[in-house]
């Protein structure tokens, strides 16, 4: 428990930092509302043009979009931890090595905390207000408690998976020493493949098939599709299992890369 306490304290501190930026949080909520409306209007326009080709109902689309906006900061692919990167670049990461905590869980926690602190302020107001919008724009309730439960489970796993995938990106700065390139390339690819730009059900079948072999299909869009009922329970369970598998793959990969990177740093003398 004492072990966990350290991370918890750190976590609290991070969230408190995030809470200080009041205007930023309000502005963020406003921004996400506008983006949400824009996307809903856009997809409704496409839906009206060819309803047969559209894979979801209007309600499902609206629900998907609002969930995406509400939890945007949890899954933002371009959001790397700048202070971690700065620490690697200027070598102060050596101080962290002196602390009695392993670096990988510590960094994992940092990423989690900064994302959660941003999301905490935003998701509730967004979801609450979206529940009272006119039909077609409204955020709907899940079809069953089971559905809600699976959504929460899958959301958690998707969140962990996003961070687990971004950890190697952070760690790669040890080797590249300049993150701007990998950041922009990876962020763009990941954002697109996760359905950040257009929902995955709207993508061509071949692309969806391809994405099913990557972890990207099992990130943010999986919980949203479980919630809005696009994925039936059986598919949802399967997706959750695959999420777990990818987690089991990426966490050890990150730990291994971290070890390699640190050994390299120690040899270089910081």
């Amino acid at each position: 428990m004492a072990f966990l306490q350290k991370y918890l304290t750190f976590f609290k501190m991070r969230i408190r930092c995030g809470l200080q930026y009041r205007t930023a949080a309000l502005a963020g909520i406003a921004t996400q509302f506008c983006w949400g409306f824009m996307y809903i209007l856009l997809y409704h326009a496409f839906r009206n043009s060819d309803p047969a080709a559209y894979p979801m109902t209007a309600e499902q689309t609206a629900t998907y979009i609002w969930l995406q906006q509400a939890f945007l900061t949890l899954f933002a692919s371009w959001q790397l931890e700048n202070d971690l990167i700065a620490q690697i670049k200027d070598g102060t990461v050596a101080y962290d090595l002196c602390r009695p905590v392993s670096l990988y869980p510590m960094w994992f926690c940092k990423c989690m905390a900064s994302r959660l602190s941003r999301a905490m302020l935003r998701f509730l107001p967004i979801l609450l207000i979206c529940g009272f919008l006119p039909a077609g724009y409204r955020m709907c309730l899940p079809t069953s408690f089971l559905c809600l439960g699976l959504f929460l489970l899958s959301l958690t796993l998707a969140f962990l998976l996003t961070i687990a995938i971004l950890m190697p990106v952070h760690i790669s700065v040890f080797f590249l020493l300049n993150e701007s390139g990998i950041r922009s390339v990876f962020a763009n690819v990941m954002d697109f493949c996760c359905g950040g730009l257009i929902p995955i059900p709207l993508m061509p079948a071949a692309l969806q098939k391809f994405l099913s072999f990557t972890p990207f299909l099992y990130m943010q869009n999986t919980p949203y599709l479980i919630y809005n009922g696009y994925l039936p329970i059986s598919d949802a369970l399967r997706a959750i299992c695959i999420q777990l598998c990818w987690l089991v793959f990426f966490i050890p990969l990150g730990v291994w890369m971290m070890k390699k990177a640190l050994r390299r740093t120690v040899i270089q003398g910081g």
Binding site: K12, Q20, R22
Partner: protein, 328 residues
């Protein structure tokens, strides 16, 4: 001529208390505190003066410099420099001043220094002949010939500061503001910078206003000190008069072969600080006893082999000043 009268400036700062509860509370309701940075500030500086502007952090130093350079508009009061109000005639005013921030560079990081100079030539509309003359002169005085073709990022701190000062003087400013110009510099660079500033003041009559925490800068450069605290001028005087007034203590170190320092009978105004077998340190209050009286009192009782009298450092003077005016 710089003339400042009744200058006032108040800042509003959001208050933040620690703790999760207070953080949450301030999320919904924020309280502000008013901090008077300048509080009826008065002083005037003649052309060609060199003035040390000192005070602890947060005393209002940088606010004053910002007002004088036209960046900040005060709440009330007047400030004229060569008959101009800095913030009202900003573009005309800034042509006449040069500003060096010790901790902030205006040189372009990745290109040779001379390229920044050429850019400044365009920014300040410096005619070709004036520019050439000034660059030659500054290169000569600050020994820049090797540096001008080097990218800024490859310069040492001292080299960079010399270039920085040259960059602020290209347009022949009448007034030079120096904000911690020697911070982080090695001894050689510090002396070079100080010598240059002195020479510039002597030869061109440039008015120099120096804010610094480095007392050696003050000692080397300025005859006059303005002490600011709580937004007011607390003391305005020459360095020597301040010393006379505040540094009344001397340390006397006496070397002697047969010493029983604790058995000496000391007159009023002199106290023993340290006693060793061959040496003793006395503290002397010059308001009570003169140095020569003190020496004769000691030499009458013991054989002095060597003797030195030290004035406490300028840092001691400044900390005394700060204590006296309760500005810390």
């Amino acid at each position: 001529m710089i003339f400042v009268k009744d200058l006032c400036k108040t800042f509003r700062v959001a208050r933040r208390d620690g703790g999760m509860k207070n953080t949450l509370k301030s999320f919904f309701h924020r309280t502000y505190t008013e901090i008077p940075a300048l509080d009826h500030l008065n002083f005037s500086i003649e052309d060609g003066e060199m003035v040390g502007y000192i005070g602890p952090n947060g005393a209002g130093k940088s606010s004053t410099v910002k007002v004088l350079s036209g960046i900040l508009v005060p709440d009330s009061g007047t400030c004229t420099i060569d008959g101009r109000i800095p913030w009202k005639e900003r573009t005309a005013h800034v042509k006449e001043i040069g500003v060096v921030f010790g901790q902030r560079s205006q040189l372009w990081w990745d290109v040779p220094v001379i390229d920044t100079f050429l850019l400044l030539k365009d920014i300040f509309s410096i005619p070709d002949d004036v520019y050439k003359h000034n660059v030659d002169e500054l290169t000569d005085m600050l020994d820049l010939s090797q540096l001008l073709r080097t990218p800024t990022r490859q310069l040492s701190l001292g080299q960079r500061m010399r270039c920085e000062i040259a960059a602020s003087l290209l347009h022949d400013p009448k007034i030079l503001f120096l904000d911690e110009p020697t911070i982080g510099l090695d001894a050689v660079s510090k002396i070079a910078v100080r010598d240059f500033i002195k020479r510039r003041n002597r030869e061109r009559g440039t008015t120099v206003i120096l804010t610094t925490h480095d007392m050696q800068d003050i000692e080397a450069l300025t005859e006059r000190i303005l002490l600011i605290g709580h937004g007011k001028i607390l003391k305005d005087g020459s360095l020597s008069s301040l010393k006379e007034e505040f540094v009344t203590e001397r340390h006397m170190t006496v070397l002697s072969s047969n010493f029983k320092a604790d058995s000496l009978s000391l007159p009023q105004g002199i106290t023993l600080m340290e006693a060793h077998s061959d040496r003793a340190v006395f503290s002397l209050d010059t308001t009570v006893l003169s140095v020569s009286d003190a020496i004769s009192a000691i030499s009458s009782q013991t054989e002095i082999r060597d003797l030195s009298v030290d004035t406490p450092s300028l840092d001691t003077l400044i900390s005394k000043l700060y204590c006296r005016y309760e500005v810390l």
